[in-house]
């Protein structure tokens, strides 16, 4: 040990510099923290993977429900303005009455188009759809009625739509009027149910993800408690002490988002074909909307915020009691 020599202390000590140098020091500090955080995560990879998996699962359920709800919305979109109507005629309606009805429908300002489906055309469509042409050929008579496919003009409100439906039902030659809105209403009801469910689950699982992050960060804090105590005693501000743990929280959140994206992608791949077949039977083409760059970005931002919130919660609890440590 040598004598205390202040010139040794000072001569080579550069000044702190201006705001630029301070900013550089600040950026370097953050870079160092990020490096230390990643190193810690790499050293404790198994625990980190577990945290990521838990957060990923918590994010996946509401996200998955959101995607289902978006798909249902797309299915209903083509009918969402004014659902089509199928006007079934009485059996044996004479051709001149069919022609009269066709003219009446086409003259109606509320109807955009009306196309007649004869009993034979209906039978042909039915037999080709079920693939039992020979069985249909053996029928003595065609049991299917003639019908009109009616497309109302867009932009009708519910009351106008209902009036049109009622008027059509009152026509003598009409046996029944079926609105595509019936099953559309069901789809929309299910869609609304799923939408609300996804919000509730997003809230619940969001809180769960925050708690998982807080718990994981809490473990990191415990493992670095002596370091924090020393930092506190040498004058570290709470913000300085929180900083590395917020990095932990954000990285846990981002890892969880990555896990969630992978889980959802895998689920889409597994479910795509059966869903395509199911929807195809309704003449609807499957599309999975939303799982695109903006949604992925949203997922990662939300996950990072959840992670940071969890970290802040853990820090608020633990760092407060730091001073009471022996």
């Amino acid at each position: 040990m040598r004598d205390f020599e202040p010139e040794l202390w000072n001569q080579s000590a550069p000044r702190d510099g201006g705001p630029g140098a301070r900013l550089l020091a600040w950026l370097r500090e953050h870079g160092l923290l990020l490096k230390e955080t990643l190193e810690h995560i790499a050293r404790n990879l198994l625990a980190s993977l577990l945290a990521w998996a838990l957060i990923g699962i918590a994010l996946s359920l509401p996200l998955g429900l959101y995607l289902i709800e978006s798909s249902l919305s797309l299915i209903s979109e083509p009918w969402s303005e004014s659902p089509g109507l199928t006007v079934y005629l009485q059996q044996g309606t004479p051709d001149e009455r069919v022609q009269w009805l066709s003219d009446k429908l086409l003259e109606d300002q509320r109807i955009e188009s009306a196309s007649f489906v004869s009993p034979q055309m209906a039978l042909d469509q039915f037999s080709s759809l079920i693939g039992l042409e020979s069985l249909v050929e053996d029928l003595d008579q065609n049991p299917l009625p003639g019908s009109f496919d009616v497309v109302p003009v867009p932009g009708m409100d519910t009351w106008q739509y209902q009036d049109l439906l009622d008027e059509l039902e009152r026509i003598e030659e009409v046996r029944d009027v079926v609105s595509e809105g019936l099953w559309l209403d069901r789809v929309l009801s299910v869609s609304e149910l799923i939408r609300r469910l996804s919000w509730i689950l997003a809230g619940l699982f969001g809180v769960g993800a925050v708690l998982v992050t807080a718990s994981s960060v809490r473990l990191v804090i415990e493992s670095r408690l002596s370091e924090l105590q020393v930092m506190s005693l040498v004058g570290a501000t709470p913000r300085f002490m929180r900083r590395p743990f917020i990095y932990f929280g954000v990285i846990y959140g981002l890892g969880g988002a990555l896990m969630s994206a992978m889980l959802i992608s895998a689920s889409v791949i597994i479910l795509r074909e059966p869903a395509r077949q199911f929807l195809g039977s309704y003449g609807v083409e499957l599309s999975v909307p939303g799982f695109d760059p903006p949604l992925v970005l949203f997922l990662f931002v939300v996950a990072a915020l959840i992670g940071a919130t969890g970290a802040l919660a853990a820090c608020a609890r633990r760092l407060k009691s730091l001073e009471s440590q022996p």
């Binding site: 040990m1 040598r2 004598d3 205390f4 020599e5 202040p6 010139e7 040794l8 202390w9 000072n10 080579s12 000590a13 550069p14 000044r15 702190d16 510099g17 140098a21 301070r22 550089l24 020091a25 600040w26 370097r28 500090e29 002596s226 370091e227 105590q229 020393v230 930092m231 506190s232 005693l233 040498v234 004058g235 570290a236 501000t237 709470p238 300085f240 001073e323 009471s324």
Partner: protein, 246 residues
């Protein structure tokens, strides 16, 4: 002109460049500290003033209250009764957000050195500068100089566990000095050092005090204190039972 220990204070100040060293005085007024569940107070009715720029030893047997006295100055907890003033600040009135800045003026040598085991010697010494957001160049420069003063040059890249106990304690002292504290608190700083090294450390504290810092050293080694000839106060079972020369 080279700066040497024992120079006139104005020369010392010049040697410190822009830094003006004005030590912080400490005043205890009827301070009692009673921990929850304890039979008696760790400190009982202690009144004493540590003048700015002075060096004072606090002595007494184990459990006499030396560490409690230092921890009260660090504001790790508040006194049960009485008042602790550091400079012109009543520590009881210090707001939580003011505590870090207050502590940045202190240098603390811990009894068990409390080095961070996963960080290198250099990183340990740089820590007080790191929390104040200093530039990397300044941090490294000051930390390396502090290590050099402690005779630990070329050991900056080692981990604490690769050092002897005495070396670890010297790293702890370097860390306490690196921020140029206005008030240096040392809790049994020579406990792990050989007699020669202990004297060197004490001399170092004396020289640090000469440039204006206030130094308070808790030590049970009365022989060393007497040899050093500095004023001291003696605690016994939490009570101030004697003081010399302050």
């Amino acid at each position: 002109m080279p700066c040497k220990p024992s120079m006139q204070p104005n020369l010392w100040k010049r040697c410190w460049g822009q830094t003006e060293m004005f030590g912080l005085g400490v005043r205890f007024t009827e301070v009692t500290k009673q921990f929850v569940g304890a039979q008696r107070g760790a400190l009982q009715g202690v009144s004493h003033s540590f003048a700015p720029g002075s060096i004072t030893f606090v002595t007494g047997h184990s459990g006499a209250g030396k560490t409690t006295l230092l921890r009260l100055i660090m504001n790790q907890f508040s006194p049960t009764y009485g008042q602790v003033m550091v400079g012109d600040v009543n520590l009881a009135s210090l707001k939580p957000q003011e505590l870090p800045r207050f502590r940045q003026q202190l240098g603390v040598v811990f009894q068990e050195h409390r080095l961070l085991s996963e960080r290198t010697v250099l990183e340990n010494v740089m820590l007080p500068l790191r929390v104040t957001g200093r530039s990397r160049a300044l941090k490294e420069s000051r930390a390396l100089n502090a290590l050099s003063i402690m005779g630990l040059e070329y050991k900056e890249d080692l981990l604490p566990e690769q050092l002897s106990t005495g070396e670890q304690q010297r790293v702890g002292i370097a860390r306490a000095l690196v921020n140029r504290p206005r008030l240096l608190l040392a809790d049994e700083p020579t406990g792990n050092l050989d007699p020669e090294m202990s004297k060197s450390i004490m001399r170092l504290f004396g020289e640090f005090q000469q440039i204006g810092a206030t130094v308070i050293v808790a030590s049970h080694d009365l022989a060393l204190i007497r040899e050093f000839g500095a004023p001291f106060i003696e605690l016994r079972e939490g009570e101030l039972v004697g003081s010399t020369g302050s």
